[in-house]
């Protein structure tokens, strides 16, 4: 099929149709026109092929050539990915910058990670050994944080006939020759739309620790799990995603900026090399991979960016890493599907979205999971997708269908955002399906009663929301003191615990043991205050007590390595209330 060429007959935005396409394969990558724009075949009807083009089609003519590349849309997987920033089809943006300057022009060609750069390879296998798919044959220190394990591609196996010695090689060098003639290099290619194989899927076991109190304590995300963060504009989706990218305890972060703002990607590029990972003391960029298709970059590449990101994540998972994928925002991806579907004149389903939207969403989220890899390691891909519902209305198709396929739902609330309660995660409408699966882990690794405390706090918040209905009608003053206490404790939880300041150096990341102690302080205060109210201590005394304010400020004033500060604090509270109760009982 060498040299088969199609001829363009139709151009409408990113959708191009061509004839003479019989020899092309579905989902094959092609180049279109004089500028060799990159595209993908998305339908074939006898002689007529439809192509979605990943670059601006201005200047394309009827009669232009469509040339086959003989392979599906793939990513190149090897050293040089970590710390890099790519466009939606894995072209490094700094190479595009070198080629076309400040602005991204079309016709850059198919670029990928630098294949001439030399890396030091340390082999872990010897001549004569038998290698099968997924086996590790060498190690490259890609960044100070990440060891890049060189793996046999999943569909290759054989006995090692020839092997190079440890040393510096470029990506293109043949490192190993197998007895069946197959060759292994430092990189492999993988089609983005096909999930990489694993040995087996394992049940969820561990939380993804994010250092964000409302998530870790109230709505935990699991390693290998899925979470959605929906919210109208200005509610802090991107902010939350950035916080997760910075502080979650994954080994590798893949951040997909899908149809979002250019400045946000620049912010990550400027901030992450300066931010220090708390566990390794090295810059966060050493474990971060960025995929950027900003809102003004071609829409078809936006559709591909999600797949590019997840495939890279799976590759690092196969090395045994826990990888977290942040997709910001999946709604833009869904809209890209809609836009292309519209141009293909497909029959629209709900709100103009194509009927296959739910199945595409399911396919995407199902690529997350806690697995045993082909080389017998436990590893995971966690997906956290932001959703941008039109008009902030969660009943729209993308939010609704996403809800069907994710287990943790962190709903952002416009009202909370308006009062600058950040993160604006609504504690009543959000949920996490991982609580029961993670119960054991919390019990063993944090504290026996961590989840009980959580339940108590949730109860207070629930009751408060009911009481607020009454307060709206008659005011707070007429409520009995027990109920007013609930309101005050809820305030403590909201201001002192749920609100977290991303710009405060102590508060931006909070370890689980501090989260637990903070909960314990609030709970102790609540318990004592309840008793005090019973013996007639007026609510105003309680809420004007010094301790009340200290609890609100404790997130700032008690450091993350808190020593015995919390224990002392709880003692103080206990002492204060014991005296107070005595005083009133005496009357």
């Amino acid at each position: 099929m060498e040299g088969s060429k199609g001829k363009v007959i139709y151009v409408n935005g990113p959708v191009v149709k061509a004839i003479n396409m019989k020899d092309f394969k579905m989902r094959e990558m092609v180049t279109v026109g004089e500028k060799k724009l990159i595209g993908e075949v998305i339908s074939i009807d006898e002689d007529l092929g439809t192509i979605q083009v990943y670059e601006d089609t201005t200047g394309l003519k009827v009669g232009d050539d469509v040339i086959s590349t003989q392979k599906p849309l793939s990513v190149t997987l090897g050293p040089g990915i970590v710390g890099n920033i790519f466009d939606g089809i894995q072209r490094p943006l700094n190479i595009i910058f070198d080629k076309s300057g400040n602005f991204i022009k079309e016709g850059i060609g198919l670029e990928t990670i630098d294949k001439t750069k030399k890396w030091y390879v340390k082999f872990t296998v010897k001549e004569g050994e038998y290698l099968k798919g997924g086996d590790i044959f060498g190690i490259v220190e890609e960044t100070p944080l990440i060891k890049h394990y060189l793996m046999v591609p999943p569909n290759v196996e054989g006995k090692i006939l020839e092997i190079k010695e440890d040393g510096e090689y470029s990506l293109d060098t043949i490192l190993i020759k197998l007895d069946n003639g197959q060759e292994l290099k430092m990189y492999q290619e993988w089609p983005v739309r096909i999930p990489r194989p694993v040995k087996e899927r394992l049940p969820i076991q561990k939380p993804l620790i994010t250092g964000q109190r409302v998530i870790d304590t109230f709505f935990p995300i699991a390693k290998g799990g899925t979470a959605a963060i929906p919210g109208g504009f200005g509610t802090g989706k991107t902010m939350t995603q950035h916080q997760l990218a910075k502080w979650s305890d994954a080994d590798i972060i893949v951040y997909i900026g899908c149809g979002e703002r250019g400045n946000e990607m620049t912010e990550v590029l400027e901030d992450f090399p300066k931010l220090i990972d708390p566990s390794s003391n090295l810059p966060l960029m050493n474990r971060t991979i960025l995929i950027a298709n900003t809102s003004n970059m071609p829409v078809a590449a936006r559709e591909a960016s999600i797949y590019t990101g997840i495939t890279i994540a799976e590759y690092f998972r196969d090395m045994g890493y826990n990888v977290a994928v942040m997709a910001d925002s999946t709604s833009r991806w869904a809209e890209a599907l809609r836009e292309i579907s519209g141009r293909l004149e497909e029959m629209p389903a709900e709100e103009g979205y194509p009927a296959y939207l739910p199945s595409r969403l399911a396919e995407f989220y199902e690529r997350a999971g806690y697995v045993r890899t082909l080389n017998d390691k436990e590893a995971s891909v966690t997906i956290i997708g932001a959703v941008s519902p039109a008009g902030g209305d969660f009943s729209e198709p993308v939010t609704q269908n996403t809800k069907r396929f994710v287990s943790a739902f962190l709903g952002l609330d416009r009202k909370l955002a308006y009062s600058r309660h950040y993160p604006a995660i609504n504690w009543l409408s959000s949920y996490s399906g991982y609580i029961t699966q993670l119960e054991e882990w919390y019990r063993q690794n944090v504290a026996e009663d961590m989840l009980n405390l959580r339940a108590e706090m949730m109860k207070v918040l629930q009751e408060e929301s009911k009481l607020q209905e009454t307060v709206k009608l008659v005011g707070e003053d007429v409520l009995p003191d027990e109920q007013r206490l609930i309101l005050e404790i809820a305030k403590l939880i909201k201001v002192g615990y749920l609100q977290q300041n991303a710009y405060h150096k102590e508060d931006t990341f909070v370890p689980l043991n501090k989260q637990y102690m903070m909960l314990k302080v609030i709970y102790s205060f609540y318990k004592f205050a309840k008793e005090a109210v019973k013996v007639g201590v007026p609510i105003s005394v309680i809420k004007n007590s010094n301790h009340f304010y200290k609890i609100i400020k404790m997130k700032y004033e008690i450091p993350n390595n808190f020593g015995d500060s919390f224990d002392k604090f709880i003692n103080d509270i206990s002492e204060y209330f014991t005296n107070l109760i005595k005083e009133y009982e005496g009357d």
């Binding site: 139709y10 003004n296 519209g342 600058r420």
Partner: protein
């Protein structure tokens, strides 16, 4: 590829269809010669030997014969040099002020290209607008895109004019210029702006692109693109700080919808095309700063929310792309408060990196946070007081009402000519925050309370 075709197959609304064409390229410019004049258009679809052309001017008076269509082989380009400062152009970049064409300079494609995220410089310097509500609570940053969400009859034009008048670039930081794109606005609005620029003494530093309400609708699609291309030229070739005012985005979107309907495309929400988001992004994302140039493009798009509805697709999609929004409220305006900014839904996403110590004043972030939090509490108290009456409110709730009033009449309200320094605005903020008891100020670092609280 200068080829002329002498007849049309079809004319439908703003679209014409030419048959039997060869070698025509997607998005290229077309000149349509009528008996007495030349109109312009661009190729929007190619299908075999048929080209669909979108005509910028009116198609009335065209017939399928007596017409010649010339393909230029290039996308729409405009000629740019420093000479454009002080000039007025129509919606497709032709001079209409009688000053003659621009002779020298370079030609740039109005469609622009996306800025490579690795080439961007992250915006960090604030622009003092002299308006307390903006400077303190939704600080404008150089290189930001911050739209004004308004409604018909609200004073968005005055606010934009006041920003132009008062926004200053500090001494020695380069030249300042304004690019103004009018899309479907009324003649009086256009005159208002011209006069405002005159009063501000910047008229010779303004480039205007005018597509007024009675100008051809389709031309409106290119107007902001011409304006932004001019802005890019001035910012990135001439290293100037450019403030781009685009009004009214709503008219622009309606033009887009009209064309989409004429092309029989599958509609998205409220009949707007499915690509409205990408299309708006191709305008808004042209704000920013790039490596290797000292200039910047700051955008203030103005849009009138149909029926004051912030969830309408136009404000909604805009809000998802821009870096915040300034929302005007009819209710506040009716109480005779100018500028009628409803601060609660208003937001500046970039202010976090451009305020505080080293930029404005150390207490700024906390103060802004506290005002948002307390003013949102004021709304709850107001709702309560409507049910139970003001007299029945608790002491602390009464304090909140007092704070709410002071906020609106002392802090928010200011006159069109009042230019407040950011420190002055922050001092007024402390003056009104001091109405509340100290322990209600839970968003402020105690250190600042000690320093600034007046009780």
């Amino acid at each position: 590829m200068y080829k002329e075709y002498l007849s049309l197959k079809k004319i439908e609304g703003p679209l014409i269809v030419v048959e039997g064409v060869k070698g025509v390229s997607y998005n290229e410019m077309v000149e349509i010669k009528l008996k007495d004049k030349i109109k312009h258009g661009k190729v929007v679809q190619l299908n075999g030997d048929i080209a669909v052309i979108q005509v910028f001017e009116n198609t009335s008076g065209m017939s399928v014969r007596d017409i010649s269509v010339k393909f230029t082989g290039k996308p729409l380009e405009i000629k740019l040099s420093r000479e454009i400062l002080g000039r007025i152009f129509n919606g497709i970049g032709e001079p209409i002020d009688g000053g003659g064409p621009i002779f020298n300079g370079i030609k740039l494609d109005v469609n622009g290209s996306p800025i490579n995220p690795v080439a961007r410089r992250y915006p960090r310097n604030y622009i003092q607008t002299g308006i307390s509500a903006i400077d303190t609570l939704t600080t404008l940053i150089r290189g930001q895109k911050l739209p004004i969400f308004s409604g018909n009859g609200l004073p968005h034009n005055q606010i934009a004019a006041q920003i132009v008048k008062q926004a200053r670039v500090a001494e020695g930081e380069g030249e300042f210029a304004v690019v103004f794109a009018a899309m479907g606005i009324k003649h009086d609005d256009a005159h208002y702006f011209i006069k405002a620029f005159q009063d501000a003494g910047v008229l010779d530093r303004v480039v205007m692109f005018m597509n007024l309400a009675d100008d051809p609708v389709v031309e409106r699609i290119v107007t902001p693109r011409c304006a932004l291309t001019a802005a890019e030229y001035l910012a990135f070739y001439e290293n100037m700080h450019i403030l781009v005012i685009m009004t009214d985005i709503t008219s622009y979107c309606e033009a887009l919808r009209e064309i989409s309907a004429a092309r029989e495309e599958v509609p998205g929400r409220k009949g707007y095309p499915g690509y409205l988001y990408s299309d708006l992004a191709s305008l808004y994302e042209r704000a920013g700063m790039v490596e290797g140039s000292k200039g910047s493009i700051t955008q203030i798009p103005i849009l009138t929310m149909p029926n004051d509805d912030i969830t309408h697709p136009i404000p909604d999609l805009t809000g998802y792309i821009t870096e915040g929004q300034i929302v005007l409220s009819r209710e506040i305006y009716q109480r005779n408060i100018y500028p009628p900014i409803n601060i609660l839904p208003s937001l500046s996403r970039l202010m976090k990196d451009g305020i505080g110590e080293g930029y404005t004043r150390a207490d700024h972030p906390d103060v802004a946070n506290q005002i948002f939090s307390s003013y949102s509490k004021v709304q709850e108290v107001k709702a309560l007081s409507q049910v139970i009456g003001e007299d029945e409110l608790s002491e602390i709730d009464k304090k909140y009402l007092e704070f709410g009033n002071a906020f609106e009449y002392r802090f928010l309200k200011q006159s069109f000519d009042e230019d407040r320094d950011v420190k002055e605005s922050l001092d007024i903020a402390w003056e009104i925050l001091s109405i509340l008891p100290k322990n209600e100020l839970d968003r402020i670092n105690p250190k600042f309370i000690d320093e600034y609280y007046r009780g």
